[in-house]
Symmetry: C2
Subunit: 177 residues, 2 copies
């Protein structure tokens, strides 16, 4: 068993959406290391499945890739917000659907080496159309694909967003769809 200890953590820069922290770590050999950490309140994503069994994706610009990526709908949780609350909001804002049949599929750390973010992925069925109300800086396009089409896009590199890959592969593994 290793014996790492977080000795101190302090904010070193306050960003627009998230803060950058430095963490002083006590190492098992008694030494110290200084690591970077993105302070993050968590995220939620959803695989919305329509009445034809097709998955609803959004295509949107992502600054990390500096291009548009095909993703499942997702968003950042407010501090202390339940991931289910986050994803109900994001699903309505991004694709204009509500659902009374949302179940948790998985949760994971996208980048645990340097980010606190934990992402919860939900599966939503029995969708009901509402009116999409995008945030002022969200401009997304909606596309739908079957599960086999989605898996093919993961294999051939048309889907390169980590949470989307994890969620779709997990859904295929469960055999639910």
């Amino acid at each position: 068993m290793s014996n790492y200890q977080k000795i101190k953590e302090y904010a070193v820069h306050s960003g627009n959406v998230m803060d950058f922290h430095e963490v002083e770590i006590g190492l098992p050999d008694g030494g110290k290391a200084y690591w970077d950490l993105i302070h993050h309140s968590g995220g939620a994503a959803v695989i919305p499945v329509d009445e034809d069994g097709r998955i609803i994706f959004v295509r949107q610009y992502r600054v990390g890739a500096d291009r548009e990526l095909l993703e499942i709908p997702a968003g950042k949780s407010e501090q202390g917000e339940e991931p289910l609350t986050t994803i109900r909001r994001e699903m309505e804002e991004e694709i204009g659907y509500v659902s009374d049949e949302i179940e948790k599929l998985m949760d994971f750390y996208p980048a645990p080496a340097y980010s606190e973010e934990k992402t919860v992925i939900f599966l939503a069925r029995n969708l009901k159309k509402t009116e999409a109300r995008p945030d002022f800086d969200e401009f997304v396009e909606i596309e739908t694909y079957s599960l086999p089409e989605s898996l093919q896009m993961i294999r051939d590199g048309r889907i390169v967003d980590g949470k989307t890959i994890a969620g779709i592969l997990m859904l295929a593994n469960t055999g639910i769809l």
Copy 2:
């Protein structure tokens, strides 16, 4: 088609391992937004499969989760470094193996909303033992699991590292192992 433009990008904080940037984004409606971006030279991970068909994992402390996580071996690429070079080094350092049979399985963005990181996951077979030489602040334990055991640990939440989940599920989906 959306029409986002990266207008300006500048470093706002220099961390120990990575830098924090701010990006000025031109929005499709003519407005502007300011987003955070982690400047990152990329990462590489590997699913090492031993002669019994078992996958070699490492268990190590991750500051983002503030606990030990079970993961496939991985590391950060030096600026401009080929991911294959990165993963050969990390595989030897973390688990003490080399391989002449390494193939690319997939690549993806773990957190494209705020990080430039792109991770390449390889599959390594025909492993040869060398001597593990951990970095001074790396203290890892090695564990091996079959593919069905690994999938079970993803389903029941014992594996919560994003790249490990994506890689193992992808490997299962390909039917290679």
